[in-house]
Amino acid sequence: MSKRISVSSIATFWVIALVVITAIVYGFRHYLDPVFVFSYAYAMKFCG
């Protein structure tokens, strides 16, 4: 009863995976910016 997985499904899966990985790398690099960390840490105390 096994169904064949279409090429388009595999391609879609890999495109989504690539987009997610790129997004995570982009985001992570910004989270390491000291100016970002300081202003975020300072201000979150006031708005939670």
Partner: protein
């Protein structure tokens, strides 16, 4: 895999729309802290004055969530989400054009608070639970949370970048336009109106449903548990980044910790949304989650603070961050049905926001009076213990109304 492919084909667009709207709504809210210094300096208002608008926003969000829930149940979720997106976008643009503090408080506090009540967890999870059949709903709820988490993770650094290039008022306008453009996605989350619903409610009215829930012990226990959740998350989100910086850890460690919380939250929201209901009973999954939070917090504050202990804590607490939301919403649906789910979850969410208000305020008060966060860590741990315990005795069986209705109708 073919099963997953089928689910993605059936519900992929709906899940993407829900995740994008919810993620953008929560992400913009989460990045508001970055606006505080620029607005304070640009408008010559104190940080406390700017922060007061965001405190109002949290309360307005909690206070109006039951009412947006009622509207969503009465007229359908899509209209309320679209209304929420538009009022949120208008609030952002109006914030950028507020010449005086009172107007800023109304725009940032009231408009965006109402916008959040129309676009965040309550209405979006409610819509997905109503639209997606039971067999696929665990996956759909988990996936909406995961996409929302990913968008939230990206919006914060995006806002930081926009602030560098467009100043604070330009950034608010860009965000407002971006959110308004996504508004039509709300139509993918169309639900039936209450009078069209064929859920097991017979001809139950909204006021009957609210009074039924208020008479159910489990509803109040859920409220208490979710209030503890709000308390913990507001304390952790609001004060732990500052705690790390104050304790002398390098800023890069604090940044990595914030990123790890956001990233593992994506996985955690999916996992808890998926396993709750489809594999484990939701009330026990919630208890387990709160016990894990307690264990993580006790370990973190008792071992010597180091980059490694911070990374491990951030990864674990992030995984446990928003998993409570689909589980709590799912438990309300499981006990009371989905016809008035958005309304009833709105009342539970009010408790969450009350806890969040207390978490932010009490942590600041304790730190200012004792010079340390030690006491508030233990209060947060105690709140977690209460939450873990109160979920266990909840009667999570479907309310007996179904049989009564059938008995009347036969």
């Amino acid at each position: 895999m073919s099963n997953v492919t089928g689910i993605v084909r059936r519900w992929g667009l709906l899940v993407l729309a829900g995740g994008l709207i919810m993620g953008l709504s929560l992400g913009i809210r989460q990045s508001q802290g970055l606006f505080m210094l620029p607005i304070s300096m640009g408008m010559s208002w104190s940080i406390e004055e700017v922060g007061f608008a965001f405190a109002i926003q949290n309360l307005v969000w909690g206070l109006t969530q039951p009412f947006t829930g009622m509207l969503a149940d009465r007229f359908g979720s899509a209209r309320v989400i679209l209304f929420g997106v538009l009022i949120y976008a208008a609030g952002l643009v109006a914030m950028a054009n507020s010449p005086e503090l009172t107007l800023f408080n109304i725009n940032a506090g009231v408009l965006i608070g109402v916008g959040l009540a129309g676009t965040a967890f309550g209405v979006v999870y409610g819509a997905v639970s109503k639209i997606v059949p039971h067999a696929d709903s665990a996956w759909a709820i988990g996936a909406v949370g995961a996409i929302g988490g990913l968008v939230q993770f990206l919006v914060v650094p995006l806002v930081h970048q926009l602030l560098n290039s467009h100043a604070w008022d330009g950034t608010l306008i860009v965000l407002g336009v971006l959110f308004a453009v996504l508004g039509p996605l709300a139509f993918l989350l169309r639900t039936k109106r209450a009078d069209e619903s064929v859920d097991n409610h017979g001809d139950q009215s909204m006021s009957d449903a609210i009074s039924e829930a208020f008479r159910h012990n489990g509803f109040w226990l859920l409220n208490l548990g979710f209030m503890a959740c709000g308390f913990q998350l507001a304390f952790l989100a609001g004060h732990v980044p500052a705690y790390l910086v104050d304790r002398g850890l390098p800023l890069s460690v604090g940044g990595t910790a914030i990123a790890l919380i956001s990233l593992t939250n994506i996985a955690g929201t999916f996992v808890f949304g998926y396993v709750g209901g489809s594999i484990f009973r939701r009330k026990y999954t919630l208890s387990f989650l709160y016990f894990c939070r307690i264990a993580a917090m006790i370990t973190f504050i008792t071992v010597p603070l180091s980059p490694v202990s911070t990374y491990i804590f951030a990864a674990v607490i992030g995984f446990l961050w928003l998993g409570t939301v689909p589980l709590t919403s799912g438990l309300v649906a499981q006990i009371f049905g989905t016809k008035y789910l958005t309304t009833l979850f709105g009342f539970v969410f009010f408790g969450h926001q009350l806890g969040a208000f207390l978490g932010i305020w009490l942590a600041g008060y304790v730190f200012d009076t004792t010079g340390s966060y030690n006491l508030i860590w233990w209060v947060a741990i105690a709140a977690g213990a209460i939450a873990a315990l109160v979920h266990m005795p909840i009667n999570d069986r479907v309310v007996m109304r179904t049989k009564t209705t059938e008995a009347y109708s036969t």
